[in-house]
Symmetry: D5
Subunit: 154 residues, 10 copies
């Protein structure tokens, strides 16, 4: 049942094509919406549903097709794409998880107890940090700790 990913993908193509044609940066689109950049790009590329207001505002700015504006409001499937994971820019993050995943797990359990960092109640940001040895990408992931709570339902 892959009935809606194609809609979001076509929308992402329309957004990116118009963005380039009109000369907007992703950063500018985020500012136009007053939303964080990572959230904005993720939403425009199909990983988050947008409100009607946001979708129309971006549609007006980029002169998007009405179909695109509607598609941006669709609840998306956030599926993992194995091909994208092999792109070098994306792959380095997966490699970090292979190297540091067990350490993340050990330290989270030690500090917080048995549980996880939520990927839902969570935000992510990217920043540039100037450095004499070469500027650095700083990614910050900030997610709520969720303890395994069997009895929380009572």
């Amino acid at each position: 049942m892959t009935y809606n990913p194609a809609l979001r993908e076509r929308a992402a193509n329309d957004v990116d094509g118009q963005r380039i044609a009109k000369g907007y940066s992703w950063q500018q689109l985020a500012e136009h919406l007053g939303k964080p950049p990572v959230w904005t790009v993720a939403a425009l590329l199909g990983s988050h549903p947008m409100t009607a207001e946001d979708a129309e505002r971006i549609g007006a700015l980029l002169d998007l097709a009405p179909e695109t504006v509607r598609a941006l409001q669709r609840q998306p499937y956030r599926t993992a794409d194995a091909a994208i994971a092999t792109d070098p820019t994306v792959y380095r993050f997966h490699e970090l998880l292979a190297v540091y995943g067990p350490a993340f797990k050990a330290l989270i359990h030690e500090e917080f107890g048995d549980g996880i960092m939520s990927a839902i109640n969570c935000n992510v940001s990217i920043a540039r940090r100037a450095h004499p040895g070469g500027d650095r990408v700083v990614v910050t992931i900030d997610g709520k700790f969720l303890p395994y709570e069997w009895n929380a339902a009572e």
Copy 2:
């Protein structure tokens, strides 16, 4: 040719067993070495080689077998383990990459140009942030930006 992973794995088991038996936290082991916690746990679980001095210091503290102390100094294979990636505490980070990977890529290219964040010249930390809605796990990844440089060799 998987000739050395088994050595590092046995060492990790010895370290973790002795650590629990003697009542040390991972945090304490890191402090004992004067090294960052994520690096320390990753090294002790087999993702980084340790210096002879560090390996012996931790060996003395935890009463590790000589074989373990030697194994901790071996250059490791840092292989990706598909089973570990399904552990819920680890999986949430992979899920974040599925959701935000294309946004990371778009924003890194926009800000820095064509290239990647290094996973080698990079460090990682985990912190606890108190929050009225529930404390939060904050992961910071700080890696040098590497531009695609075809001519750098000249």
Copy 3:
């Protein structure tokens, strides 16, 4: 031989597009048919064949193409889609099976003997349960126990 999934998929797209355009909730569609919500959505998204009467009733309400109305009556292939399984809302249920699957198996065998819970003679419902700590999703699966019966044919 994937000759019919495409038909059902196109039908699902038509249904969902018209549903949104006309402002109906899935719940309302289920009530219009007098059928349980999970069954109704599953059928409209391609996992169950509908009777001609139900297909036409929903077709009239949503102004569906005749092709869609016919497709909804086609016997579907209920194939497992690995991509959909990675969507976070769907994935959590798969994760629960990884964590509790062996316990389900042990307790079913202990209580009922050697056999399975039928996934065919079975129904599924979703409910909202108000809770001071945050409302809860309650999923109930109710399937007939089927014992391994080698001699039942005699």
Copy 4:
């Protein structure tokens, strides 16, 4: 780095072997601990860490090796095992997700908004329901709804 799953697996074997040898049902073990049956079996088979008190109580009842009692307290890797997913008793639940997963997703989003049912703040139970057409297995999953909350960290 699969350094601890083997420990939990050996513990599960010891628990199950002693349980059968001494004639206890899983239900009785759960009652002995005063814990829900699904939680108890999952913990004893390696999916949850036990408190020292619980581990020792079950160890005394079943005459478990000290190594087993310690292993039951280890923080486990809750990895997904593709082979177990093919066991018919377990597979039927995966099949249900293939058939109803998209419907679960549609109805959860419609009722609660964009988000997931937590698999962490969640409990699971199994009950027998007498039925003239053959008794039925009733599985109830009760998990907290978690909305995508980008701004929750502020």
Copy 5:
């Protein structure tokens, strides 16, 4: 080189669509050709080439496109489709092989010696058997035993 499967698939779609539109059962198509039902359906869905005579007779009955009539005569690729194998009606047969495959192997070798049951010199039938506990599907596979014959070429 998937140059011809698409042709057979389009043919199967045309056959099935016309069959439903004209109200014929598969059984009736088999009778019209005077061929066994399993063979007939397999051929019409793309697993066997048909003679020109059979293809034209079925084309006349169902008013098929000339392209379809030609495609039904093409030598097909009989490829295994992993998605179809997950459809519950098909999957149960695969599950039976997982459960009984080693027993089939042991008993065939014991009765016939080292060799296989041919899947080429073989036929398959499906019958309904009335039963007070619920009617039963009876599948019969009848294939020639082929011994490993290294010297048969001499």
Copy 6:
């Protein structure tokens, strides 16, 4: 959590080794138990649990280790093994499903309605049929039809 398959596998090895050493055919073991041959071999190779009485009777005949006799009574994981599926004697059955699976599906739905042939309430037999062109293996699968019954629980 693969805690019990190893036990059943060791038992299968013990059974098969003793069977060969003592010169019994599988057929004779089935007759000794008064059970159908396919069921008997499947059970002894680890796909069905045996009663204490059957396990002891076969243990006495073959002089099996007490551990084996106990293991034969364990509730097994009936997991699908991809390697075994490539053995030529077993593979031919999988190939038949690739060729005839869609035809099975179409004819079962046409004759019985929407549903499946049970793989649980089901038995399987193998027979030899003399034939002038070479003797034939005849496999008969006899399983109860199960209709999709959403309302059966009421």
Copy 7:
């Protein structure tokens, strides 16, 4: 980067469709070119580039589209297709490699030393051999032995 396989595939479809429509056997096409049959069919189905002369000669005979004639001259990607490998006629050759691959390896190394049979400096033929027990397919593979030659570059 799958930019050219589609071109070769469309060409193969055009060739095969015209070949059937005009009533030529593959054997006749090979004779028309004065090339070995296996080479000719492989080239026309997309596994070898053809010279302009050969492509035009076959184009004239079969009345191929100019696009097809050009595509036949394109340097192909000779990619392995897992689906085709499951076709029974093709699969038997893969099965032979599973059964005899290690023997091939042992005997090649014993007779020729450490190295391989070239799949590049190699030809392949198929012949029919009459036999009273049923005619036989005889496949001959004739490839140059290549020793591992580390120093050949000097």
Copy 8:
């Protein structure tokens, strides 16, 4: 259920170790048995069962353990091993199938009709052919053609 491959593997190791220790070539073992070399090596490496007489004769020559002599007579699982398929000496044959598989299929169907070359009633040989450009490996596969015969059972 992989209960017997380990036995055959241990036997293959014993055979190969003793063969090297005693200085016999595979060719000599084949001559000692009076069997074709490919068959002999395949059998000794675990792909064919040997008669008691052959197993004992080779056992006496190589001073094999009694366990090995018995294992060589066991009916083997002839499973496909994906790792072995990547060895360069073996891989070249798989590559040839990727390049020429569709041509084999087209020419076999054209010459013999719809069917396959048997991999069971089949033999395989390897020869050295002297050539001024470098000696060549010549592999000959000689298998009986088997037509798809639905009616053969009558």
Copy 9:
């Protein structure tokens, strides 16, 4: 989210088709741009973004569609394509890594310490080396060594 690979792929097709139609070699295109050949081909086939100036220069030479000229400037996804890796010309390089990968790793660590050869700050060239035994392909990879530098961020 595969929203841009299709654009680059269509561009690659346009480039290659026009290149052949106009009779340019890849080498000539590289010279026209004054760029290294491997870089040029990689960029034109979709693995590197081109500057507007380069894209337009090549567009003018080859008479490319404006869409192609724009696509060549798009930041690409450099995804790994498993099918391409099986093409024999490409596969040999992968095979070399299977054979020599662990040796590369051992020697790099020994010579440079713990770290990697960058695939980003890296260039690659191909040359022909005349040789009496047959000309040789010489591939040179020249990448900066990157040490694991946890503290580089300070």
Copy 10:
């Protein structure tokens, strides 16, 4: 049939352990044998067979077990190991093939015609190149070009 890889793996472990214990670099082992470093390490880690003389010379230097000395002479399986390919030091080379593979293919075909660079008649070296921006790893692959030669056998 994985009957010999374990032997080579154990040998590699013995070699590497003794090498470290006795303080030899890989470079020194290569010099001791008078062989190229990449070849030497590959052979000692199990990718090439050694002559008896070389194996004994390295055995004497490192005080290896006689079993190891024998194993180093065994003809190895050079299998591709998917886990090793994920080690960052090894992975970068695979990534380069994903990025430049199609360019390698296009340029080799353009310069040499249809064919491959041999991975058998091939050698590989690694060198350090001093560079003000950081020293560089230079890998040189030098392999004979092999044209597709169908007629070479004549």
